[in-house]
C-alpha cells in the first residue's frame, strides 16, 4: 500500500531541511562579500582562491589526506584479518574477534581521545601523521570488518581449497587467492575509513599540536574564533572530496554485488 499524499509532502519537506545546511555552506563559499551570509552577496571565487593559496590550509589539507590514507591502510589490514578470524575460527575465539572489531564503534570519541592522548604522548605519537593514523585506523576498522565479513559469507570455499590441493602454501593461498577475492569489500571499507578520518575532529584535536593540524582541527579552531567565508570555502572543498569518495563507494558496491553473485552461482 503506497504512502498517502500527505506523507509524501511531509517527506519532501524533510528532504529539503536535510539538504539545506549543505547547500547554504556551499553557496556561502562563493560570496563576494566578507561575511558569511545567506543568500551570499554577489558571486566570486575569491575565498576559494584564498584558501587554495594559503599555506596553512594547504598543509592541513595534506596532513588530513596523509592521515586518512594511512588510517585506511591500517583499517584494511587489521579489519580484513579480524573478519577472516571471526568467520573461520570457532567458538569463544571467533566471538572475541567480533567483539574486538565492534569495540571501536562503541567507545565514545571523547573517551577514546583521552586514552590515545595519554598513551601516544608518551610514545612521541602526538603531533604527527603516524599517531593520528593509528587512532583513526582503529576507529575506522569496523567499516572494513563488516564489509569483508559480509563478502566472506558468500565466498565459495572450494576456490581456496583448489589452490591448496594444487600445492599452494597457506600464505600463498591467502595472498594470491583469498585477499584478491576480498579486495572489493576491503576497498569499500577502507574508503569509508578514510572518510571517517577525513572529518574527525575530537581525537584529531587531542593528538595535534600547533605545527601539525588536520583540516577539521583547523576548521574547528577557525569556527570557534569567528566565522569567515574562507571556512565555507574549506567546507566546500571537504564536502567535494567526501562526495567524490562516496561516489567511488557507490560505484564499487555493484561490482562487489556482481562478484558475490558470480561466486555463489558456481
Amino acid at each position: 500500500m503506497n504512502a498517502g499524499v500527505s506523507v509524501r509532502i511531509v517527506g519532501v519537506l524533510i528532504a529539503v531541511v536535510l539538504v539545506v545546511p549543505t547547500i547554504v555552506i556551499c553557496a556561502t563559499a562563493f560570496t563576494g562579500g566578507s561575511a558569511v551570509t545567506f543568500p551570499p552577496q554577489g558571486f566570486s571565487f575569491r575565498w576559494i582562491e584564498d584558501v587554495l593559496g594559503d599555506r596553512r590550509w594547504m598543509r592541513a589539507f595534506g596532513n588530513s589526506f596523509a592521515v586518512g590514507a594511512l588510517a585506511a591502510v591500517f583499517s584494511m589490514v587489521a579489519g580484513a584479518a579480524l573478519a577472516l578470524g571471526a568467520a573461520r575460527a570457532r567458538g569463544a575465539i571467533a566471538s572475541v574477534f567480533t567483539a574486538v572489531s565492534v569495540l571501536p564503534m562503541i567507545v565514545p570519541l571523547v573517551v577514546g581521545a583521552i586514552g590515545f592522548y595519554l598513551v601516544y604522548a608518551r610514545l612521541g605519537l602526538t603531533g604527527n601523521v603516524v599517531g593520528l593514523a593509528l587512532a583513526h585506523g582503529v576507529l575506522g576498522l569496523p567499516y572494513v570488518f563488516v564489509n569483508v565479513l559480509a563478502l566472506l559469507r558468500t565466498l565459495d570455499p572450494r576456490i581456496e581449497e583448489a589452490a591448496r590441493i594444487h600445492g599452494a602454501s597457506q600464505l600463498r593461498t591467502l595472498a594470491t587467492v583469498t585477499l584478491p577475492l576480498l579486495a572489493p569489500a576491503t576497498v569499500i571499507g577502507g574508503l569509508l575509513a578514510f572518510i571517517s578520518s577525513w572529518d574527525e575532529v575530537v581525537v584529531a584535536t587531542f593528538l595535534s599540536d600547533a605545527r601539525f593540524q588536520t583540516l577539521p582541527v583547523l576548521m574547528y579552531g577557525q569556527i570557534r574564533s569567528g566565522v569567515e567565508p574562507s571556512v565555507s570555502a574549506v567546507s566546500l572543498i571537504v564536502t567535494v572530496v567526501t562526495f567524490g569518495v562516496a561516489l567511488i563507494v557507490f560505484a564499487v558496491g555493484p561490482i562487489r554485488a556482481r562478484l558475490a553473485r558470480r561466486s555463489s552461482r558456481s
Binding site: R8, T22, G79, G85, R88, F97, L139, Q170
Partner: protein, 287 residues
C-alpha cells in the same frame, strides 16, 4: 599430502593466527589506551570519582546529556518515521529523490553540518532574516547558544540512522499485509496503526537506541551550537582534561560515560540483538 584440508584451505589454526594479527592491532592501538584511562581514573583511589560525582556542574551535565539524548531520539523518530515510510512506500522516482537527499546530508561532514546550523541560526542567519522579512518578529531571536540549537543540529546529524533503520525494516514488510487489512474493511489509518506500524517496531527501536547512545558521546555539535552554558558530558570531560588539566577527574568522567554506554548497549542487546543496531551504525560514519 598427509594432512586433511579443512576450512577454506587453511585449517582453523591458520585463520586464528590471521585474526590474532588484527586483534593485536586493536589491543595496542585502542584497548591499552582505554586501560590507561581506567588506571588514571583510579590513581587516587576513588577520589577522582568522588570529585566528579561531587561536582555540581558534572551532575548538571549528566542531566543535560540525558535530556538531549531523549529529545534527540524522540525528534529523530517523529521526523524519521514518515520519511522512511515515504521512501519505502512510494514510486521509484520519489524513493530515489528521498534517498539522494538523505545521502547528501549523511555524507556531509559532521563539522560542516554543525557549522552550517551555526550560520543558519545566527542572529543574522537564514531563520531570523526570514522571520523578520515576513514580519513575525521585530528583533532577532536568540537561537544560537541555546539547548534548542543543539537539539536541531543533533537531530539533523543523527536522524539518518533512524531513517535507515526504519526503512530497512519497512522494506521487509510486504505491502500486501496492509492491503489485506484494507480489503477486510480497515481504513487506511487503521491498517497502518494495527498492521504496518507494529511490524516496523524493531527497526524503530534499533534506530532509536543507536541515536540515543551516539548522542551521549557527542562533543563538537553541542559545543558549537549550544555553547558552554549548558554543557553535556563530553564538554565536561574535555574541560577537565584540556582546560583544567585535571586528567584524573576527566578520566573518571570518561570511565563513567563508557560504563553508561556499555550498560545501555548490554541491556539493549538482550532485546534487540546488538548486530542489528551496530549494522546500521556502519552504514556511514559516526559521531
Amino acid at each position: 599430502m598427509g594432512r586433511v584440508l579443512t576450512i577454506e584451505g587453511g585449517g582453523r589454526r591458520w585463520w586464528v593466527s590471521v585474526g590474532l594479527l588484527g586483534l593485536l592491532f586493536v589491543l595496542l592501538a585502542l584497548v591499552v589506551p582505554l586501560a590507561i584511562v581506567v588506571q588514571r581514573s583510579l590513581d587516587a583511589g576513588f577520589e577522582n570519582f568522588a570529585d566528579a560525582l561531587g561536582s555540581a556542574s558534572f551532575i548538571r551535565s549528566l542531566g543535560n546529556t540525558a535530556q538531549l539524548a531523549i529529545s534527540t531520539t524522540i525528534c529523530s523518530a517523529v521526523i524519521g518515521y514518515p520519511y522512511a515510510y515515504a521512501m519505502a512506500r512510494s514510486g521509484r522516482t520519489m524513493s530515489r529523490i528521498l534517498m539522494t537527499a538523505l545521502m547528501l546530508s549523511f555524507w556531509t561532514s559532521l563539522l560542516v553540518r554543525s557549522y552550517a546550523w551555526q550560520v543558519i541560526l545566527n542572529d543574522t542567519g537564514l531563520v531570523n532574516e526570514l522571520l523578520q522579512a515576513i514580519g513575525v518578529i521585530e528583533e532577532p531571536l536568540q537561537l544560537i547558544r541555546t539547548p534548542a540549537a543543539t537539539l536541531i543540529g543533533m537531530t539533523h546529524i543523527l536522524v539518518p540512522f533512524t531513517i535507515l533503520a526504519i526503512y530497512a525494516q519497512l522494506r521487509g514488510i510486504s505491502p500486501d499485509l496492509a492491503m489485506a487489512a484494507r480489503g477486510l474493511g480497515a481504513t487506511r489509518t487503521r491498517a497502518f496503526w494495527s498492521v504496518t506500524f507494529p511490524l516496523s517496531m524493531p527497526g524503530l527501536a534499533a534506530g532509536s537506541l543507536l541515536v540515543f547512545v551516539l548522542t551521549l558521546g557527542y562533543y563538537v555539535t553541542p559545543q558549537l551550537l549550544g555553547g558552554a552554558g549548558n554543557p553535556v558530558i563530553g564538554q565536561s570531560i574535555v574541560e577537565q582534561t584540556n582546560t583544567l588539566l585535571n586528567t584524573g577527574v576527566g578520566s573518571a568522567m570518561a570511565v563513567l560515560l563508557l560504563v553508561i554506554v556499555i550498560v545501555i548497549l548490554g541491556v539493549a542487546a538482550r532485546f534487540l540483538g546488538l548486530g542489528r543496531v551496530l549494522g546500521i551504525a556502519t552504514e556511514r560514519s559516526t559521531r
